[in-house]
Symmetry: C2
Subunit: 221 residues, 2 copies
DNA sequence: ACCTGAACACCGTTCAAGT
DNA sequence: ACCTGAACACCGTTCAAGT
C-alpha cells in the first residue's frame, strides 16, 4: 500500500491527539499497554507516523505525566493554608488513583514538566503567603508531597479495595499467609483491615491530619 | 552448536545465582538493563536455560524485590518504639537509594513476598509491644511506610544530589526555568535548596521526627 | 535434568521512498 | 509536510531437539 493522505472524515493527527490517545491507552491497559505501535493503530495510522508529531516515546511519557499533574487542584495563594493543603493532597490522591500508570512512570522521570513546576509553585505560594518562613515551607512541601506519593503507592499495592466486595480475593491471600511467623500482621489484617467498614481513604485522612497538625505546631510554637 | 554440559570450572546455575546476578544487573544498568537475555549471558548461558530455574521474569522481579526488603534492618520487639522506628525508617531509605530500580518495580508489584511480610510484622510487633493499640498501630505503620516511600521517590527524582558537586547540572536546570511563572519555587531553589550545606537527608530526618512526634502525641495524649 | 537453536509475537526507532 | 514499508536491534517465552 502506498503512502496516502488520510480519508476526508478523519481528523488530522496532532501532538495533542497523540497525548489524548496515550492517556486513554494507559488508563485502559496500564503501562505495558502503552506502545508506539498500539498508539498508532489507536489513531488509525502506522507507529512511524507518530514521529512526525513527537520526538520519541520518552517525550510522550513526559508529557502525559505533566498532564496528570495538571489535573490536580492547585491551592490558591490566599486560602487558609491548612484547608488549601488538605484539599490539594486529597485531589492529588484522587487523580493518581484514577491514573495508576502514572505512579509506575513517575519513578523513572528525570525532569519535571511545566505543569509540575506550576503546581509546586502554587503549593509554596500558599504556604509563604500564609506566614511560613522559607525553610519551614521547604520542609512542609517535601513532607506533604512524600506522604501523598507514598500513600498512593500503598493503596495501589493493596490486593483488594474493601473486604466486603472482594471476599474471595481476601481468602485467597490469607490462604498463603505464614500465620505463625507473622502473628502481629495477622492480627492487624483480621482484627482491623478486614473488619467491615474499613476504608483506606480513612487511613489517608488520618495521616494527613497528623502531618498538618505537626506543621501547625511548628508554624506557631 | 549442540547442547553440552557446562565446562568443569563453571559453577552450576541455581535459583540463588540467578537472583544474585539479577540484582547486580539492575544495580548497574537499572530496570531497562535487566533482561532475561542479558541475565543469561551474565551467567554464561542462553536466556532459555534460566527457565529451568525460574518460572518467568515476573518471578525474578518479585524475588529480588523481596531480597531488597530483607536488607532493611527490622526493629526488635522490645526496643523503645521511637528509636526502633526511626532506625528502620532510615535503614529503609538507605537500602532503597542503594537499589533505585526497586522503586520502579515496586509500583507494579501485586503480592508481597515472605521477607516483606516478616518486615511488616516486625514493625507492628515493636509498636504493639510498646503499648500501641491496634488501630493506632495500623495508622502508624501506614503513615511511616508512606512517608519513607514518598521521600525516597522524591530523592530519586532530584536532578542532583548536592549543589556543590553538580553545579553544571544545576545551571542547566535553571536555564530552562520559567522564573516569572513560578516565583515561589524559584525562591525556594535559589535561597534554600541551592545554598551550600543543604542536604536532602536533613529534609528526610526533619519530616521523620515530625511524624514520630505526632504518633507520640496520639499514643500518650 | 539441563542446555540449545529456531521460532513466535512483540518492542522503539531509522531511513529511503512515496504522495 | 506527512505517511508508509522494510529493516535493525532488541524483548519474553515456547518448544522440539539434543546430551
Amino acid at each position: 500500500m502506498p503512502a496516502r493522505r488520510r480519508s476526508p472524515g478523519t481528523p488530522p493527527i496532532t501532538r495533542e491527539r497523540v497525548l489524548d490517545a496515550a492517556i486513554q491507552l494507559a488508563d485502559e491497559g496500564g503501562v505495558e499497554g502503552l506502545s508506539m505501535r498500539r498508539l498508532g493503530t489507536a489513531l488509525g495510522v502506522q507507529a512511524m507516523s507518530l514521529y512526525n508529531h513527537v520526538p520519541n516515546k520518552d517525550a510522550v511519557v513526559h508529557a502525559i505525566l505533566d498532564r496528570v499533574v495538571d489535573e490536580i487542584r492547585r491551592p490558591a495563594r490566599d486560602t487558609p493554608w491548612r484547608e488549601a493543603q488538605r484539599d490539594r493532597a486529597r485531589s492529588a490522591r484522587e487523580v493518581y488513583t484514577r491514573h495508576p500508570w502514572a505512579m509506575e512512570l513517575i519513578t523513572a522521570r528525570t525532569q519535571p514538566g511545566l505543569a509540575t513546576l506550576l503546581h509546586h509553585d502554587a503549593i509554596l505560594g500558599n504556604l509563604r503567603t500564609n506566614g511560613f518562613p522559607l525553610p519551614l515551607a521547604a520542609h512542609a512541601i517535601a513532607l506533604l508531597d512524600a506522604y501523598v506519593f507514598g500513600a498512593v503507592l500503598q493503596e495501589l499495592a493493596l490486593p483488594f479495595q474493601s473486604p466486603e466486595e472482594d471476599a474471595p480475593v481476601a481468602e485467597e491471600v490469607m490462604a498463603a499467609f505464614p500465620a505463625d511467623q507473622a502473628p502481629f500482621l495477622l492480627e492487624m489484617i483480621t482484627d482491623h483491615a478486614m473488619q467491615p467498614g474499613y476504608a483506606f481513604t480513612d487511613e489517608f485522612d488520618w495521616g494527613l491530619e497528623l502531618v498538618l497538625d505537626g506543621l501547625e505546631r511548628r508554624l506557631t510554637p
